[in-house]
Amino acid sequence: MLTAQQTELPKTRIEPSKGWTSLNLRELWEYRELLYFFVWKDLKVRYKQTILGVTWAILQPILTMIIFSLFFGRLAKMPSDGLPYPIFNFAALVPWTFFANALVNASNSLVVNANMIKKIFFPRMTLPIATVLSGLVDFVLAFIILLAMMSYYDLTPTINIVWLPLFLLLALITSLGVSLWLSAMNVKFRDVRYTIPFLTQAWLFATPIAYSSSLLSEPWKTIYGLNPMAGVVEGFRWALLGTDTAPGPIILVSSLAALALFISGAYYFRRLEKDFADVV
């Protein structure tokens, strides 16, 4: 009986990995339920012991929008592609907030869970990925506010809204790519933690959130797309508000940049992964 059972037992080989290892996506797939539980835990725990609870998810972009509207809209009189500045700004802040939160939370995800990493085996990638995915819930809430604001400003979304999921996907891939890079790096170099507030701030201004990319002329505008978030933000505005920054070359460049970031991040993560338990 045992022999019959034996033949069914899966064989695992444990050996030192050398250099750039494969991504081992099969294993990640096998642990999809764990990924689900991590996301679920994140959502359960995130706003525990806060007074405003989940309101924070929408308060964050709304407050930023108010500040930006005052300083850039009213005072600096930034051009906003002919749209009311608040909605012009908020349509960009919704995907941006998703990205910025993902970056901050995911880059700490491994260090915060050091205890688990040292004690139990599971694909480490599930931690940053779950953190990024759980941010989607906040995104949806903020997105509902965005729709409400649009109706307030009497803006009906154009037919281009069908492309919106693709821009969200682009934001997701960018977030995952950056998170994989930073979370893995953070295990070894705690400097990352101190760099992140600065990085998010710099990235915020390097992305057309307070202003429009129409300020730039070609070919700079296309080169600008190397910042994938530029593509995401312009895409959101185009799909929802009907700005004429049509998803031309900038989206293409952004998509390629995001993919490069994501794939390189995944390989970098895998390469460092084996030392996590010894170093973290």
């Binding site: 004690k119 070894k188 084996k274």
Partner: protein, 423 residues
């Protein structure tokens, strides 16, 4: 039965300590180190302090060329002192860390009780933590659903299942955590000293659970310093010493080999020990606990004659000594004192520096025991050493009755029963 569950081939694990691979670096530090390292190495080479470049880092081979085969259904005890490589081996087996060279083939799912409760979130309820922890340990949701009631029942926390675990007592917390891990039902179970937690009643329950696992024909690898437990659960022992396999065989033999080496060390170190109290005009320099069976073995048996010999380095007026015996969990068993005279006590004119205590029959149950020794002289405490020696008792006969290991008990008294008639 002959199929291997675990096949370890030439496994080595190298840790860099203090070398370039620090716990974690600041980037600047790393950069400076990278620049400086070649020069440092060159200097060492010039001074002739090392033969080759690879010897220059502080290196520690936690495991060094270990090859083992563990068969399906074996219960293996891994024995060794701290730092011998036991935990490293379990960490590699559970894939927490990678080996430096060599490989392991594992057949079946591995579950580990390396530390229970890791991954518990204080804000989540007992119920939620069962699912989360189960998933982290590698269980599927359906599997957890199926075992859910069993897990709660085992942990004895049914009333609090919907309370956040941050309100749990530490006992409840540990019980729940162990219960989740214990219901993982892997083909291969790794256990590392988890039984140091919880109260005695629960510990026994955990032991029972592990016993079940072992008897269901699954493979168990057990790391513990408790040799009694080892001998109860395991059939085979592996003794690791400095990353090598020092001994591998039936658990009894391996435990003996380990204990002999430990006791040898303890006897040697007694003189150098500084964790002692008292004036110090007289010092205990050696303790021997020997069986009076032929061959004067160091393996003691319940019911047999035993001799305790204490060597001291000096004599002072009015010298008295006493020693106390404690069991595995630190409970007192008995005390012997020279000042409680007996007409049978002997003063040997030829003996200057030893106290010998002969015990005609050792009325102590099988287990591991600790000896604390105190010496008084000149009306003052001269020397006191905790854990001056350890000894192990294996099962033996008292009045023709086999006295075997009894959890929580340590004394056996000769006795005779009168029973109702046999029908």
């Amino acid at each position: 039965m002959s199929n291997p569950a675990i096949q370890i081939v030439n496994l080595s694990k190298l840790y860099h300590i203090g070398g370039p691979q620090k716990t974690y670096d600041r980037f600047g530090e790393q950069l400076a180190d990278m620049v400086a390292a070649p020069f440092r190495r060159a200097m060492k080479l010039v001074r002739g302090k090392a033969g080759s470049a690879s010897e220059l880092d502080e290196e520690l081979w936690a495991l060094d060329d270990v090859s083992l085969e563990i068969k399906h259904g074996e219960a293996v005890g891994i024995i060794g002192r701290n730092g011998a490589g036991k935990s490293t081996l379990l960490k590699i087996l559970s894939r927490i860390t990678e080996p430096t060279s060599g490989y392991i083939d594992i057949y079946g799912r591995v579950g580990s009780l390396l530390e229970v409760g890791t991954g518990f979130h204080p804000e989540l309820t007992g119920r939620e933590n069962i699912y989360l922890n189960g998933a982290i340990l590698g269980m599927k949701k359906a599997e957890i659903d199926r075992k859910f009631d069993e897990i709660i029942a085992f942990a004895e926390i049914d009333r609090f299942i919907d309370t956040p675990v941050k309100h749990f007592s530490s006992g409840m917390y540990v019980r729940l955590a162990f219960s989740v891990a214990a219901h993982l039902e892997p083909e291969i179970l790794l256990v590392d000293e988890v039984l140091a937690v919880g109260d005695l009643a629960f510990q026994r329950k955990c032991l029972g659970k592990m016993d079940d696992v072992a008897h269901e024909g699954r493979t168990v690898l057990f790391v513990s310093h408790n040799m009694g437990l080892m001998q109860t659960f395991c059939t085979r022992g592996i003794y690791l010493q400095d990353g090598h396999v020092a001994s591998d065989g039936p658990i009894g033999d391996v435990v003996d080999a380990y204990l002999k080496s430990i006791e040898r060390n303890e006897a040697q170190n007694l003189v150098e020990r500084t964790d002692r109290k008292g004036q110090g005009n007289v010092k205990l320099i050696d303790v021997e606990v020997i069986s009076c069976r032929e061959g004067a073995s160091s393996i003691l048996k319940t019911g047999e004659a035993v001799r305790f010999i204490f060597h001291v380095n000096n004599r002072v007026p009015g010298m008295n000594m006493n020693f106390s015996i404690y069991d595995q969990i630190g409970q007192t068993v008995m005390q012997f004192r020279t000042k409680d005279h007996s007409p049978k006590d002997i003063h040997d004119p030829g003996n200057r520096l030893t106290f010998i205590c002969d015990v005609e029959q050792l009325f102590i149950l099988p287990g591991r025991y600790r000896v604390d020794v105190g010496i008084v002289g000149d009306n003052r405490l001269q020397d006191y050493i905790e854990a001056a020696a350890f000894f192990n008792v294996t099962e033996g006969f008292i009045e023709g009755r086999l006295e075997s290991h009894k959890e929580k008990f340590s004394v056996a008294i000769p006795h005779v029963w009168t029973l109702p008639a046999n029908n």
